[in-house]
Symmetry: C2
Subunit: 604 residues, 2 copies
Amino acid sequence: MATKYVDLPTVKFLMNQVQDLNTVLTKERYQDHDTESVDLFLDSVKQFADKELFPYFKEMDEKPAYHKDGTVHVHPQVEKMMLEGGALGLISAPFDYEDGGLQIPLLVHTAAGYILDAANNHLPGYSGLTSGAAELIIAFGSSALKEKFTPKMLTGEWGGTMCLTEPQAGSSLSDIVTKATPTDQGHYKISGQKIFISGGDHQYADNIVHLLLARIEGAPAGTKGISLFVVPKFRPDADGNLHSNDVTTVADFQKMGQRGYCTTHLGFGDKDDCEGYLVGEVNKGLHYMFLMMNGARIAVGRTASAIASGAYYASLEYANERPQGRKLSSDGTKNLKQKQSLIVEHPDVRRMLLLQKAMVEGSMNLVFRAARYHDLEHTATDEKEKHKYHTLLEMIIPVVKTYPSEGGIYSINNGLQVLGGYGFCADYILQQYYRDIRICAIYEGTTGIQSQDLLGRKMMLNNGEGAQLLMAEINETLEASLQTPGLENWAKHLAEQLQLTQQLLEHLVPFAMKGDYERFLADASIFMEFFSLIIIGWSWLEIGVVSKRALITGDISHEAEFYESKLEALEYFFVYELPKTKGHAEILMHPSSVTIKKEKEYIS
Amino acid sequence: MATKYVDLPTVKFLMNQVQDLNTVLTKERYQDHDTESVDLFLDSVKQFADKELFPYFKEMDEKPAYHKDGTVHVHPQVEKMMLEGGALGLISAPFDYEDGGLQIPLLVHTAAGYILDAANNHLPGYSGLTSGAAELIIAFGSSALKEKFTPKMLTGEWGGTMCLTEPQAGSSLSDIVTKATPTDQGHYKISGQKIFISGGDHQYADNIVHLLLARIEGAPAGTKGISLFVVPKFRPDADGNLHSNDVTTVADFQKMGQRGYCTTHLGFGDKDDCEGYLVGEVNKGLHYMFLMMNGARIAVGRTASAIASGAYYASLEYANERPQGRKLSSDGTKNLKQKQSLIVEHPDVRRMLLLQKAMVEGSMNLVFRAARYHDLEHTATDEKEKHKYHTLLEMIIPVVKTYPSEGGIYSINNGLQVLGGYGFCADYILQQYYRDIRICAIYEGTTGIQSQDLLGRKMMLNNGEGAQLLMAEINETLEASLQTPGLENWAKHLAEQLQLTQQLLEHLVPFAMKGDYERFLADASIFMEFFSLIIIGWSWLEIGVVSKRALITGDISHEAEFYESKLEALEYFFVYELPKTKGHAEILMHPSSVTIKKEKEYIS
């Protein structure tokens, strides 16, 4: 098995130098932290990942979670992740001191999560969802709810989940039918079925606290009639004793990947004895849930990029060790007396490695940027600034979730190919990364849904204010690049792409104006592919500016090779990936409506 | 589980009408066959696939082949495939009557293989490799070898394999070290190790006949010192009794996909008692093997396209049954009082389905074309015609092997996405297709190797004669399209792409002229992506001409909807896939050499 799964110096470089953690740390909320304490925190996370996550990565795939006798059985490392990870602050770190947290920036927490995901993506979901569920209770629940449920969630003794999806509704949350019936004791009675619930049940959690969307009888149809409830597996009484709350684990889903991360089908209220406690106000459930959604989508992007990181280093290690074939000489033949070359020397293998590096680091930086926007939004002291960073995060979030997921599939596909036949074999790890990452394009809103969000909502956000704010950010990087020797040309390339974006929107938006939303959004996924490349191009320019300036000023925080390798990956991205926008633009400008259903069905 | 895996009318339409089987059947070799007998043959193959292959597809994945006590244990259907399939002629059909064959065109055999592969790609490899091994013996072996080994191979009682790959050599066959030592009894003693041997051993074969590449001591270095041997697992004596031949099954490879199709590691001559029988002349082994390689590569392309066919119908079936979401109304909102739509009505889902249809049928037609060229080459009565079809096959073969494999990954990736979360779950079949197809881009020369073959050898074949012949074929389709109402524009699009190809070659070839082969071939994989789209565009135009003319003339061999659905898929391909060449061209024209190794390593 490969030995490296993430490059810690790169994680720290992108977090500290490129995303400028220092500026974030100047905020009052983070006054107890400095770059050194953060450094130590990430080092301890890396040690934890080295010891408790990475060594079990393959085993968790080979011995997947399973459902037996009404319980889901998971790998013993789940307990380590929850309890030791909990003790390390991995669940609670971003929370307020008063809620048991460390008031760490999400940027730092995201860097930590990246390390964990890269080491073993089957484990951090257990703690991550627990953190998310606790966050919802803390943000919108009563203090009684908070006191009753969150302390043991933050230590990892209790798990937490998000229960949204139902069998008949899928992504269409307006069609949720799980029922909440008021009682005269203040709580509600819950009945219904939820599927695809990650971490929904396992033998190591003393209790599992579900944050569940349901409909109170008589509520308005659609998304405006959905309320949020805390529904624990066990009800704690005043003395802390636990009593069954009529939550049943109906089944688990066996999956192609992430097999150690259990996915469950839960039943609520089969015996009419399932209590649910309203969070916040009635009918605001989806609103609350969606206030957390940006965080969840940052986490999916982070996971996807991190899985691709693990795959990259595994294929790089193989390429650096495997001799095969020879360099072509100037007459196009091979000299058989030469020793075989290492495959890392073949241009086509190098292309596949650079592709992975460009995708992994470019997307890591984008994910970190999203986390920084989140921190700047949540610590802003004036409303205008808060609004600005909120809007910026809203603008990039569909790409933050999608590019690492889709680009990650593409990247790992190339990583697997580096190994040839071995890439397909279970003894090598690439095939597991290939299977694991596939879910990321589905989690928390599929690529299709993200694409509709990007083109249909975000590109017009606040009548174009969102797009303007984003352009201002990109222009800042462009200007810095134009003043940095060696980056001018790439900056011009990217500027052309921005103009092209403008042209495309001028072509597409009139469909919406005319009320033809179906046509307007028909090619949203192509627009996503197009726009993602521009956003990652921006990400690389940003990395490029810092790297190039470090080389010019002789900054010795890293060896020159470190910065040079970033500039080579930037060049790869601008030469091999960004030009693909040409094809996307051509597709988006075409006059066909072949994907729009006509009277007669022609897909057969 | 889905119920449909292939559209038999489409298979027959592409074979009969588009690839014009009738013209092939006029050849003397095929005089006993006509379209009706072929029709009946394919119907019986489909019935066999329905009954003996498709129902076991999932089970063969869930209960994979395994190695125990020195033997590989495979699913019982392997025996059915070999014996019943053998009786149906699936192993022997293309062979001469005198060798026990039916003298069926490869075009028909390929159509039959397509049906089998689509039904269950874990099974046809067993019979296919046996057929290939027998073909090698018949073509180049002595009559004694032929009589001794091939009759029981053609009935399916004995299996056959190709033993090329060795642990230290991988794709680099010049580095093979398996040894053949002459004896004074006429045979050779074989010693060495072979890996990745498909169908290398199983409990249902009375014997397995390996066609093995080895080096005779003192042979020239590299590929010119490799000889071909028949090395049976058991040596048959004059009475037909079988005696051990010191061939050991060392291990099997557990894989991500095609888990029912065993892949073995074989040892030869551990006890110095492994006999090998030379096939043809010494040191010509690789030459013989490569004369069979086009057939093998057609088979991989066929398998890949067929796997994508199974996936397409599974996702289409789901899309036609699954309600979710609603159509957007003219103010961009959804009317919740409406029933949920079937997901097949959403443009983004339709895009993913059309993508699959365009890829599956476009590549099926290309694979059939390759088989037709093979037939026309092998039945040509004058040398010029033989040379023409041989050259045409050589020209397209890298694409025939690669596009279905790479496009198939892309296609099935979209098919899986149609199912959302269910696509990732083991209860649904998409995830199996997704895993199975991944090997096709590696089998019989990886995509990287095919790409070097395409750009480095084929585009210059016979000083450009190959490219000219191919252009003449494409131009024929272009001219027919220009005269077919509704296809003129697509024909112009494709003609532009051909001009672009010319420009790219004018840019790339000078590197080869200057002796910089490394640079010339560095982006061969991008050129493959580019050129594949053009070849599939051609394939679709060809389908379009026949379909459109059928509609115009009122041909009633199929319903109008059948032809119209082909034209919609054509439009999809020209609108959504072909324009991607713009991006590829931009990449190929760029002035960077970032993938070429420099003195200092920068990939880290």
